[in-house]
């Protein structure tokens, strides 16, 4: 029954979008973390989505293929008093683009919402199917 597959497809999208929301939260929380675990400034993380077949007849879900560090250069801030400043007095800040993260967050939450609605539509239709001949 194809309608049951809608649950696995939309469910995989919910998982993927919440992973994206997680990385956005991590990026925003660390937008000013000059020193991370490896001693270098925090690098913005981005998720990579990949299509994943969940049925044999063409239903395609989505999964997170990996989390990559952004290659953008970190912004340099002049602060000679900082203990991590270089010889010229500049401190390398994380390469988190706050505006980009905010749009990413809105996009992820809207996509999550849409997929949740898809699931509830499929549920209504399945209940309708169950009500046949009653």
């Amino acid at each position: 029954m194809s309608l049951f597959n809608v649950f696995s497809i939309a469910g995989s999208a919910l998982t993927a979008q919440s992973a994206r929301l997680n990385t956005t939260a991590s990026n925003l929380a660390n937008a000013d973390s000059v020193v991370s675990a490896d001693g270098k400034p925090y690098r913005a993380k981005q998720v990579v989505f990949r299509a994943m077949p969940v049925t044999t007849d063409g239903g395609v879900g989505v999964r997170v293929a990996g989390v990559v560090d952004s290659a953008a250069p970190g912004r340099m801030v002049y602060d000679p008093k900082s203990p991590v400043a270089n010889e010229q007095g500049y401190v390398e800040m994380p390469n988190v683009n706050v505006v980009e993260e905010m749009t990413n967050m809105i996009s992820a939450s809207r996509a999550y919402q849409t997929n949740a609605e898809i699931m509830s539509a499929a549920k209504t239709l399945l209940l309708k199917t169950l009500a046949i001949a009653q």
Partner: protein, 138 residues
């Protein structure tokens, strides 16, 4: 007698099956709205239903492997229910990452398909109701 009932229900059942399958494809498109290089897919409901009805009448051969020869209608191999042909959607606005999902199109198609599936289910339900009335002789 029973084959008549089956015949009567057959078209509606095929329609409901194809609608449910289309629902699955549209859910795949919406789930992959942010996946790079994903191509949106859909079926042409009318030709899929026509094909399913014609196939049932003429005892069409089942193609269970892509290496089987095509029948006289030359239909391509399809894993989909009732041999529906899954097609790629023509894109209106190309996206930089090669994704062809247009959310407005998909959402409206999903809503339309939900209503159509619901109406097919209602029709089936009504047919059962009439049968019950006939059986009870009221």
């Amino acid at each position: 007698m029973l084959d008549r009932i089956d015949q009567q229900m057959g078209t509606l059942r095929t329609a409901a099956n194809l609608r449910a399958y289309r629902q699955e494809l549209l859910a795949s498109n919406i789930a992959n709205a942010d996946t790079p290089s994903y191509k949106a897919r859909d079926i042409d409901f009318k030709s899929a239903l026509d094909g399913a009805i014609a196939g049932r009448g003429a005892f069409a051969m089942a193609r269970t492997s892509p290496r089987h020869l095509a029948g006289p209608d030359g239909a391509a191999f399809s894993n989909a229910p009732h041999g529906a042909q899954v097609l790629y959607r023509t894109e209106f606005q190309a996206s930089v990452d090669g994704n062809t999902v247009n959310m407005d199109v998909e959402r409206s198609a999903f809503a339309e398909n939900s209503v159509q599936l619901e109406s097919a289910l209602t029709f089936i339900q009504q047919q059962f109701r009439s049968l019950q009335t006939a059986i009870q002789g009221q």
